[in-house]
Amino acid sequence: MNAGITVLIVVVCYLSLLLCLGLFSGKLFRGTSKDYFVASHSIGPFLLLMSVFGTTMTAFALVGSTGKAFERGIGTYGLMASISGLIHAALFFVIGVRVWSHGYRQGFVTQIQLFRARFESNGIGYLLFPILVGLVIPYLLIGIIGAAKTIQPVTAGAFPKLFEHPSPLMNGGVPPWLTGLVVCAVVLTYVFAGGSRGAAWANTFQTLVFMGMGVVAFIFITNSLGGLENADKVVARVTNQGTVVQEYGVNPETKKVEKLDSPKVVGKLVHEEDIEKFAGKQPHLMREPVEVEYKKKNPMTGEVATAEKPREVGIPFITFVTYMFIPLSVGMFPHLFQHWLTAKRAKSFRLTVVAHPLCIMIVWVPCVLIGTWATGILPWGLPEAAVLSNMLRLLVDNAFLTGLLTAGILAAIMSSLDSQFLCLGTMFTNDIVLKAFGKDRFSDKQIIIIARSFIVAIVALIYTIAMFSLDANVFDLAVWSFAGFGSLTPLVILALYWKGATKAGAYSCVISSVGVWLFFFWQSGWGGEYTVMGGVQPAALSFTAGLVSMIGVSLVTKKPSEETIRKFFPDSK
């Protein structure tokens, strides 16, 4: 059987299982808007952990982490994963539990409801709504584009007459428009049927799938490299002359890695003064940055030429330090906020606080190792997103396994998409429609219909935008989306913990942090990799702007009423 067909069958089986689970969870739906939006606060610790973890991990967890490690080495784990373990867990404890408590007691189902009540201002909701939606949209695009682009190469050859493509690597593969359509339809079906509860069940299944598939890919690749003890030998090495060489190659017959008779030069250090420091070393196993000039193949002409920009292997220290502002984004993700509110009780968060960093480790460590090993085998000009699939193709070449891994990647993508679609529907219904027309004007059934209708509309809109943006660099766009949410985190922390935080302070926080973020987003050319002042993440500056302005303005403006203070700080005297 054609390999593309095998992959497609595995993926279709996975999507069918997911759909069945979604429809089953729809049977548990109690028919009320509260159940649709926050599962009637009934989700226990394990489902909460899986849905929160699945929601925070996107395709980046499998594909992006491997690609980033291929580019920069093992520092990728500290830069993005281990710091997330610390910051995410801290925010679940500090923000998640409090938010759940206020939502449970005061009946909030969206972030904006909480901020409106805390700052006694409807306007703050109208200011935040377009910002939150605007920041979620690139995140959604990442998912749909990521899914659409994943399927075409792995199903190449399946339908050569039906889906013609000029590139032999894509010809006959399921085209992006069809993959995007199917993914949206599946997610829409179970979100439509089961709301928050459906998303929680589906997320749990998907999280288990993508965690499992990452580990399976790791085991097979490690075996082909001759076991863990041999795998690190493969990593690209710097010679005494300052060239970067690959000393191993893959035997196409056995699919095993063998030492080459003469090393293959893939690049050379840009700065001569680095030669002494890096001679004989494998820079991807360190974090000290070094610039390497390398060759890249033009996919259109097949011509091999020196890449325009040298590759920076390793990570500048200041970038590493200031990257901690990116994972702060979980404090303001509206879709995560909604998941928190589904918790059955405050205690349900305990498992998430403890196990989230471990789940990150289980997924990221194998992927970072695979990406690092790939530097000694794959061409350096390969796009980041193609590293994991190429390692599998080169070292394993098993269509069934490729199908499973593809299902894992789809699982990681869809476990975020569903929550984001749902949260947009929830926000539009509660923060705009019910706020403008009054809750009493609609029956509970009508409220659910409004939410579902908005979700269908937003899915259609996002799908259309995604199809026109298939060539966007989705991973860089993701970092900008996270940076935007991270910049707004002072708003929620100060709202929950500082009685002195005022309405004017909240406005100034939102305006200044988003203003600074927008400025840098524009400077980056709307979404490229970008740092300032020799490596500082722009999120550090936009976060600081929001924090300072909120504290400064709150100190000199009118305090909230006693009634509000009593509601949000019941223990205060």
Partner: protein
């Protein structure tokens, strides 16, 4: 509270691990030391979470919730 906050900032400092920045040696024969340290760091994050739960968990939330708990019905 002070203990957990202090541990959090110690962890934040440890995360920078500049002392192994240029080290490419392997732990257990396969794990680059910079990665092994950060994997251990992830485990320590879980331990810190457990310490926080044991020492500064907001028990008043559990009590308040118990006082107004809705009746149980088909909880997931």
């Amino acid at each position: 509270m002070k203990l957990v906050v202090a541990l959090f900032f110690i962890m934040l400092f440890m995360h920078q691990d500049f002392w192994w920045w240029e080290d490419d040696s392997l732990v257990l024969g396969f794990m680059p030391i910079g990665l092994a340290f950060h994997a251990l760091f992830s485990v320590l994050c879980a331990v810190l979470g457990a310490i926080a739960i044991l020492t500064i968990w907001p028990k008043e939330l559990d009590e308040a919730e118990a006082a107004q708990a809705p009746k149980k019905e088909g909880d997931a």
